[in-house]
Every structure is written in structure tokens, then in C-alpha cells.
């Protein structure tokens, strides 16, 4: 998972224990290093871009039991929970479709021009093969998992879990901080200078001015967006948010979905699931789940739930 990780710490948040204790700056640096280590561990164990990772070794023989590091075990357990929670819309088994579209390695999305050869459209067939609930095997006592029968991708929930665990580690030492990885973040306590943390929701057109600014405190903010991770596969414009029901990129009519909530991993899950409901269903599902959600439509419009309006800092409603 090649993603930039940032930790911001207001110095008032790191209070030395005594005259001999490390300075506030040192405390902040130590706490941030703990967070970075967590991200590194999650990346090392859960990435699908390293054939030697614990996930890819399990994926190579998905029907077998594998003893895995705790981070991967927890990730698979959380992914199963997310799969049930979203009625199957969150489904790690979409890995096969991503590979079919050429996203079998890290792609240079930042360049804006990514083209891959696409395999013959196996979307409907693969989708039908993945029908039925995903039920991985889990043995907590021995930290063993059986992913099968299809290999899985934990990229999205892996990042959310990394943010969650990093936030927990930071909370051991700091009262206020912001930890962010690839646009997903958790904001704790007060921002520098007091007041809530201000988070800009990027404009889907990529302009400097944001779509809006949210004020958050002790909340996670996550966005699922197709602005960056899209490419041409066999000449067809595709993106990375695959609808498990069709095996093809989903979220018709939407460009992005942002969710604010208590847990970073659940926010990540819901931002994806809401996106896959498309423009036609996102409002109803967000309302049903009581989520603070904001979505941007392909035609440039945007809307949000009442719960999200409580976080709206700019422009003024």
C-alpha cells in the first residue's frame, strides 16, 4: 500500500511528565513513530502488491488454512464483519475483477494516463462464481485463516484499520492529533490554536478550491473517490471501485462519497458501500444507516445527509 501517511500533533497535546522527561516535541515524535510503524506493519502483511506478503501467500492457496500475523487476522475478521454489515456490497473477492482490468500491480495513477490491457470481459461469470456470502474461516486461538475459495483484496479496509490502530496508539500519549493516510484520517481533540480540525473535501474536478470544509473533533473522515484511481483497460475507462454484483466498476452517477464517523475502518467500508449504491440509491441507504455522508454526482452536483450538515464549516449553509 504505497500511501503517504501524515501525523499532525499540536504541541499542547504532548505534555512532558516532568523536567527530566522528553520534551513535548520528542513525545510527539515518538508517538508519531508508533503510528508509522503500525502503517508499515499493515502494509507489509496485507498488501496484494507483494507476492511475499502474508495476504498473497494465503491468496495463493485460498482453500487452505494459513497461520498469519495478527494484523492480517484482524483485517480478515473485520472484512467479514463489513461484508455482513453491508449486505455483501463490501466484498474483498473483487480482487479477480481488478486483476482482469489490469490492476494487478501498482499503477501510476498520479500521471493521469494509465492504460492496461484488459482480459476478455469475465465480469458476469466471475461475479456469478462469487455469489453467496463470503465466509472465511477464522481460528482466533492459533491466528489461522482460510480465505477461500477466491483470493481477496484488503486494500480499502486495511487502510481504515491502520488508521484506527494508529489512532489508538497515538491516544496513549496524546490528547490531540490528526493521523491521515491517503485521504482517510482520524482527528482527535483540538486542532492547533484550539477549535475543531478543519478538513477539506477535495473538489472532484481537482481544482484548488475544495468542495467544502468540514469541522471534526474525535471523528474519522474517509472518502471513496474515482478521481484518481481510474484508467483505460482495453480502451474502456474503468475505476477501482468494483461492484461485486456485476464484477464491473460501480457507483453509476457518482464521483465520490465522504463519510464522517467514529471508526475509520467502518467509515472506509461505508464510503465504498454507499458509492456502490450509485446516485440513485446513495441517499436512501445513507439515511437508512444514519450516516454522516456527502456525495458528489457525476453532473457536478453534491448533497449530504443532515448528520453531515452538522460538520459543515464552509461554505455556510
Amino acid at each position: 500500500m504505497a500511501t503517504r501517511v501524515t501525523v499532525k500533533v499540536p504541541l499542547h497535546s504532548a505534555v512532558p511528565a516532568g523536567p527530566a522527561a522528553p520534551s513535548a516535541a520528542d513525545l510527539a515524535a515518538e508517538a508519531a513513530q508508533d503510528a508509522f510503524d503500525i502503517f508499515a506493519e499493515v502494509d507489509r502483511t496485507c498488501t496484494r502488491f507483494d507476492p511475499g506478503s502474508a495476504l498473497m501467500r494465503s491468496n495463493s492457496h485460498p482453500d487452505e488454512w494459513h497461520r498469519v500475523p495478527d494484523a492480517l487476522y484482524q483485517a480478515i475478521a473485520q472484512a467479514r464483519h463489513a461484508h455482513e454489515l453491508t449486505g455483501g456490497l463490501f466484498d474483498p473477492r473483487v480482487l479477480r475483477h481488478l486483476v482482469d482490468l489490469g490492476y494487478d500491480r501498482t499503477l501510476a495513477f498520479g500521471s493521469g494516463r494509465v492504460c492496461t490491457p484488459a482480459r476478455p470481459d469475465a465480469g458476469p461469470q466471475a461475479a456469478s462464481a462469487a455469489k453467496g456470502a463470503w465466509q472465511p474461516g477464522l481460528r482466533a486461538a492459533t491466528s489461522e485463516v482460510r480465505i477461500g475459495p477466491q483470493p481477496v483484496d484488503l486494500g480499502g479496509i486495511g487502510k481504515g484499520l491502520a488508521v484506527r490502530w494508529a489512532a489508538r496508539a497515538l491516544s496513549q500519549r496524546l490528547s490531540s492529533y490528526l493521523v491521515e493516510a491517503g485521504g482517510d484520517m482520524y482527528c482527535s481533540g483540538d486542532a492547533p490554536g484550539g477549535g475543531p480540525w478543519l478538513v477539506a473535501v477535495e473538489s472532484p474536478s481537482g481544482t484548488a478550491e475544495p468542495l467544502c470544509v468540514l469541522a471534526v473533533r474525535d471523528r474519522a473522515v474517509t472518502t471513496s473517490s474515482v478521481r484518481l484511481r481510474r484508467w483505460r483497460a482495453g480502451g474502456r475507462l474503468v475505476h477501482h471501485l468494483i461492484d461485486p454484483r456485476t464484477g464491473r466498476p460501480g457507483g453509476e452517477g457518482l464521483v465520490s462519497v465522504t463519510v464522517v464517523g467514529e471508526d475509520p475502518a467502518l467509515c472506509e467500508v461505508w464510503s465504498k458501500a454507499l458509492f456502490l449504491h450509485g446516485a440513485a440509491g446513495v441517499r436512501a441507504e445513507a439515511g437508512r444507516q444514519g450516516l454522516a455522508a456527502l456525495w458528489v454526482l457525476a453532473d457536478g452536483g453534491a448533497a449530504m445527509t443532515p448528520q453531515m450538515k452538522e460538520h459543515l464549516h464552509w461554505p455556510l449553509p
Binding site: 500511501t3 501510476a108 485521504g183 478538513v199 477535495e202 470544509v213 464552509w314
Partner: protein, 210 residues
């Protein structure tokens, strides 16, 4: 989420627009002089309308209450057409050009609107005064006509008695309705958009390292 701000022109039925002056009933014929005066009124009205359309700041409408006076040939009634104008309804004030043009612009529009209303009130007061004067003149003419008729009936001076003028029957004039100006609310101009504040992070801009 900025929106183009414009005032909606609301010409709702409830707007307190003065009623159109009642035209003389069709079965009463006005003297030619009265018709000539009315033609002049219409011409002046058309000219004024063209001038109004050219104006970007205000839209003027003639107060229909003007068409009531009759002019007699010898009466030196004011032939100056007094334009009556109605205040601009809410919403048709000069539109704000951009959200950032600001409080000063909107205050200026409101001030211009108020000035316009003031001018219109003054103009309509003038109309009412002119019409009242017309009425008095007509009444005076009627009295002198009556005197002439009476003198002719008595025989008068002899020499000119044979040329007693035919009595002129003046139509009864409709009363000039009082002009009630509608109250004008200052347009509520929304506050201009402010630039986005500085932020601590951005969501959605996932930075993927190669």
C-alpha cells in the same frame, strides 16, 4: 457550491399596484379637444415608455390614473405630460454581478431603489395636483358657459347676441383615484461567498506514491 445570486422578479397578484384608471364609458363621447389631449397623452406615454426601457436602473410604468382630464380649446391647461411611475417591484432591482461584489453593491442597490421610490412619490403627487387643477378649470369653464347661456337667454348686448354660442355639454369626469404607493421592501441580498478557510487536511486526495 457557489451559486449565481440573482433577485427573483416577483410580480405576484398581491402587489399593491394602483388600479388602472377607468376609461370613459363607451356610450359617452368626449369632445374633440378631449380626444386630442388624450392622443397627446398617449404619445407622451409611448415616448416615456421607450425612455424607460432604455433605462437599466428602473422600469417605469405609467400610472393609468392619468387619463381622466378633458381639455377645452380655450383652456390653457398644462400640456406637459407628467410621467407617473410605479416603484420597482421587489426583485427587479439591479442584479448583483458577483458574490464577491459585496455588501457595498447591495447597499447601493437598496439606496437607489429608495431614491427611485421617493422620486416616484413626488411625481405622482404632481400628477394628482395637476389633475385637481384641471378639474377646477373645467368647473370654472362650466360656470362661465352657464353664464354665457343665461346672458344669451336674456338678450345680452344686442350686437353680439345673435351669435350666442351653443351650449357645451361637458361629460362628467371620473374622479381621480388616489394613488397608493406599494411598500417596497429592500431586497434581501445574500451575503457574498467567502473564500475557503485554511484547513489541516484534505480528504479524497489520495496521494499514491509510485
Amino acid at each position: 457550491m457557489t451559486t449565481d445570486q440573482r433577485l427573483a422578479v416577483d410580480h405576484g397578484a398581491g402587489a399593491a399596484v394602483p388600479n388602472a384608471a377607468e376609461a370613459p364609458p363607451a356610450d359617452e363621447l368626449l369632445p374633440d379637444e378631449a380626444l386630442q389631449w388624450l392622443d397627446q397623452v398617449a404619445q407622451h406615454r409611448a415616448k416615456a415608455s421607450r425612455g424607460q426601457l432604455r433605462s437599466r436602473a428602473r422600469r417605469r410604468m405609467l400610472a393609468p390614473a392619468l387619463v381622466a382630464a378633458a381639455v377645452l380649446g380655450t383652456a390653457a391647461l398644462a400640456d406637459k405630460f407628467v410621467q407617473g411611475s410605479l416603484p420597482v417591484p421587489v426583485g427587479s432591482a439591479a442584479p448583483t454581478t458577483a458574490p464577491s461584489s459585496a455588501p457595498a453593491g447591495s447597499t447601493g442597490s437598496a439606496a437607489a431603489l429608495q431614491a427611485s421610490v421617493k422620486a416616484d412619490t413626488k411625481a405622482l403627487s404632481g400628477v394628482a395636483r395637476a389633475l385637481a387643477a384641471d378639474k377646477q378649470a373645467i368647473a370654472a369653464l362650466a360656470r362661465s358657459q352657464a353664464q354665457l347661456a343665461a346672458a344669451a337667454a336674456r338678450g345680452g348686448d344686442g350686437g353680439d347676441a345673435g351669435a350666442a354660442p351653443a351650449p357645451i355639454s361637458l361629460p362628467s369626469l371620473p374622479s381621480v383615484p388616489s394613488v397608493q404607493l406599494p411598500s417596497v421592501a429592500v431586497p434581501n441580498v445574500a451575503a457574498p461567498a467567502t473564500p475557503a478557510p485554511a484547513v489541516h487536511a484534505t480528504t479524497g486526495a489520495s496521494v499514491v506514491l509510485p
